[in-house]
Amino acid sequence: MKLRIRFTKSDVMIFIGHLDMMRYFQKAMRRAEIDIAYSQGFNPHQIMSFALPLGVGVYSDGEYLDIEANSVTSSADMCRRLNEVMVEGVTVKSVKMLPDNAGNAMSMVAAADYIITFRKGHEPEGFSPEQFLEFCSQDSIIVTKQTKKNLREIDLKDYMYKVEVREEGIYLFIGAGSSNNIKPDLIFNEFAKQKGFVLDEFALQIKRLDLYGDLGQEGKHQFVSLESLGDDFHE
């Protein structure tokens, strides 16, 4: 059975990197006595995959990992058991069962949304949210992006699906995942460049809100939260 677990990351846990979070959850599965499936072979490992690595220093309300389980109880029970063995700063929000033919979280990710604020003491001088909206309203924003293999020119606008100024900060709904991953930093650095702001390396305080899959067809987007692709289950 495929299960999808949604969790949040806050407090000092933002300083724990992706690989260590994987190790953390492997041990948490054992502490919570989740009946997770193991691979075959001499050194079996848990069948577990994460949706999208979160950078060190970034907060999140919507992190996901998928696991293969041999047996389950109920969504509520498994959620409770996991939370009993979590540390401060990581909370399991839901455990959902995926249809057998569901793609794994990593391959599904198409977009993510974020709230961005400036870390205290690092607000760029003279910044106003309106300037940012103005920057985003351009027809195209061409930047060079470093990919694994080379430098590539992309138009950020192709991947910026929604931008809002909210009370908590600036809201971005942008492309994510293996093929069109846009990090909020990329947008803000281009913004700073164009508008002549100085953004130091610690200026952005980023919180990821959720990750989305794209069920749309023929070039039309239909974004849905990864969480909604699974269902609650009962004993």
Binding site: D11, V12, M13, F15, I16, G17, D20, R23, Y24, Q26, K27, A28, M29, R30, R31, E33, Y38, F42, N43, P44, H45, Q46, V56, G57, V85, V87, E88, G89, R119, E201, F202
Partner: protein, 621 residues
């Protein structure tokens, strides 16, 4: 929101911020209003090393079981953070509360190896605690040392208020109660230290005076006051089954050196290798009950979620219940994806059988520790491993499919000759030849032998405590002899030879058998910038040499000199159970190349029987 001693900007800039944030699974939070003693427990090396140390885990658990005590952890900040803390004047903090170490009542430092001594000064310095004990006031925590290096505490005597000799489970409660009492009564720090120094196992160095002869050796070591004990006897737990053992050890976020459940199956060692300090100072051998270990294994695996479990002891093959325990671990946990790892097993039919169950034979290697290349040399050091046993073990292993062998040796042992040195190459060759005795079709490719040698450092409380140590040049010359001899072997392509660094070994030798005067050089080396001396990338031998020279201390006095049997050694005031008479006897037998039987074969009357238990009384039960 948890308190965070370091700002985001710092945590985002340094390597592995997880070293400094605390918050790990099973780390202990308490409410300060219930606490009367705050204890900061420090391992003076980087987090991943310190977190792997079982002793601290045991004491952390013990202290935190006491309602009035809160024990927290402290490690050496790595070089990157060290620099930032100095620049920005940030005081060193404990992980759990993130509060400054200076606010604590005690700072306990475990001293596991000599090359951490400058890190001890770093921890004090960054904590803003006076480096020298004489300058401290009640504003500073009581700085107490423990662990194997405190069996010669003298080079560190200036920096510590107290040392705890022996196993921590026994006397801490009494010490903390005394502290509370003296603090409540408004007594002076000196009054407290003096009273603490009368407790069993506690040494208060400031209460003792050392005088030296003109030749630099000790004339007299004596208490300054008649009511202070002249001899400090080590503390020891006699019942290892009904005592503290953590069921919820702290689980680091980052991979520590020991990322697994560790079951300590026994303390002490019956073998009596003459170079081995642990084998002497942890006597007598005491075993933990196998049922207790089985129960702990369940609980600790459940509470940590670790995917590996390992046994810990000086010589696991000598544990009387090893078979039942290992088979239990494999049967119970192997099916649940838990690896069972088995260190320090003698290679024989039993160990090969269990190893083939827990590891992939084709991918793993076998380890032998002959320690010396020739039989003569092995007799001198009392390593009861013969060539015949090694070749038989290797043969069994090769036939079972193993083809990789690691061999550990020492160079610079007392009475060593060129033949002994070359013996390292010869033994490696014989093992390679043994591999090619098995029929070609049964072989698993080529054999790979990795022979490594470290350089011998004479340690206090061993029969070699009087021995002279080689110079750096002698060490390197010996390593080159081995290297050349390996190249002259038929199977030279199958044998790889490595040797340890020589200059750091010489320094270890000075610190291991140093006296109180050596403290000056340690302080000066630290002031010159020496830190993380156990790490080859940060070790600065040149600065250390300058420090000794500027302090007018002769390294050869501490390393090159064979001590007279009647010389007062800096650590003579400590009673570890093993008597000086026994050590002298063993030193003589070493020179005569006579092997001494182990504790189970025949008691040698070493003196450890005075503790009233363990292997000394096994036959009588």
């Amino acid at each position: 929101m948890r308190k965070q001693a370091l700002a985001d900007e710092i945590l985002l800039k340094i390597e592995k911020p997880a070293r400094y944030i605390g918050n790990e699974v099973n780390s202990v939070q308490k409410n300060l209003k219930d606490i009367s003693v705050r204890f900061a427990m420090c391992f003076p090396d980087v987090y991943e090393i310190g977190m792997s140390h079982l002793g601290i885990q045991i004491l952390y658990d013990m202290f935190n079981q006491w309602e009035d005590v809160w024990c927290e952890r402290v490690y050496s900040p790595w070089m990157d953070l060290d620099k930032i803390m100095r620049q920005q004047n940030i005081p060193l903090f404990a992980l759990e509360s993130q509060d400054a170490v200076k606010e604590f009542d005690f700072l306990g430092i475990t001293i596991q190896y000599e090359m951490c001594y400058t890190n001890i000064l770093q921890v004090l310095d960054l904590s803003k605690i006076s480096l020298t004990a004489a300058e401290r006031t009640w504003e500073d925590p009581i700085v107490i040392g423990g662990g194997p290096c405190s069996y010669n505490p003298e080079p560190l005597a200036d920096f510590f208020d107290l040392f705890y000799m022996g196993e921590g489970e026994t006397i801490y409660r009494t010490l903390l109660d005394l502290y509370k009492e003296y603090k409540e009564q408004g007594k002076s720090r000196e009054e407290f230290l003096r009273q603490a120094g009368k407790l069993p196992g506690i040494y208060a160095p400031s209460m003792y005076q050392v005088d030296y002869k003109e030749d630099g050796t000790i004339r007299e070591f004596r208490p300054k006051y008649p009511d202070m004990p002249a001899v400090i006897q080590k503390e020891i737990v006699m019942d290892l089954t009904n005592t503290y053992y953590p069921e919820k050890p702290v689980v680091p976020f980052i991979k520590a050196t020991q990322d697994r459940v560790v079951l300590e199956i026994q303390r002490g060692c019956i073998r009596g290798c003459r170079f081995c300090q642990a084998g002497m100072v942890y006597r007598p051998v005491r075993e933990r009950d196998v049922d207790m270990l089985k129960e702990k294994a369940y609980k600790i695996l459940k509470n940590t979620g670790h995917e590996e479990i390992s046994l810990s002891s000086l010589s696991s093959s000598d544990y009387s219940q090893l078979g039942p325990l290992v088979n239990f671990l494999i049967d119970e946990f192997k099916g649940q994806g838990v690896n069972v790892s088995l260190p320090s097993l003698r290679i024989d039919a039993f160990s090969l059988d269990v190893m083939s169950k827990v590891q992939d034979v084709r991918k793993s290697s076998l380890t032998f520790a002959p320690e010396a290349g020739s039989q003569r040399m092995r007799d001198v050091i009392n390593k009861g491993l013969t060539e015949e046993i090694i070749l038989r073990g290797a043969g069994l292993a090769f036939e079972a499919g193993w083809n990789r062998v690691k061999l550990y040796f020492m160079l610079g042992l007392p009475t060593e000759t060129e033949e002994d040195i070359k013996g390292i190459a010869h033994l490696s060759e014989k093992i390679a030849e043994r591999y090619y005795e098995i029929p070609k079709e049964q072989r698993n490719g080529k054999v790979q032998i990795v022979a490594s040698s470290s350089f011998f450092v004479p340690k206090p409380f061993t029969p070699f405590q009087w021995a002279s140590m080689n110079t750096k040049e002698e060490f390197l010359e010996k390593a080159h002899i081995v290297n050349d001899e390996v190249k002259a072997q038929l199977n030279k392509k199958s044998i790889k030879y490595n040797y340890h660094e020589a200059d750091v070994t010489v320094l270890e030798g000075v610190l291991a058998r140093g006296d109180r005067r050596v403290a000056r050089a340690i302080l000066r080396a630290y002031e010159k910038g020496c830190l993380y001396d156990a790490w080859s990338e940060t070790f600065r031998n040149d600065l250390w040499m300058e420090a000794f020279q500027e302090e007018g201390l002769d390294i050869m006095f501490y390393t090159g000199r064979e001590r007279e049997l009647d010389e007062i050694l800096p650590w003579d005031f400590i009673d570890v159970g093993v008597s000086k008479e026994f050590l002298k006897r063993e030193w003589q037998r070493a020179k005569e190349e006579v092997v001494t039987p182990n504790c189970r074969m025949a008691c040698q009357g070493c003196g450890a029987a005075k503790f009233g238990g363990g292997v000394c009384f096994e036959a009588k039960n």
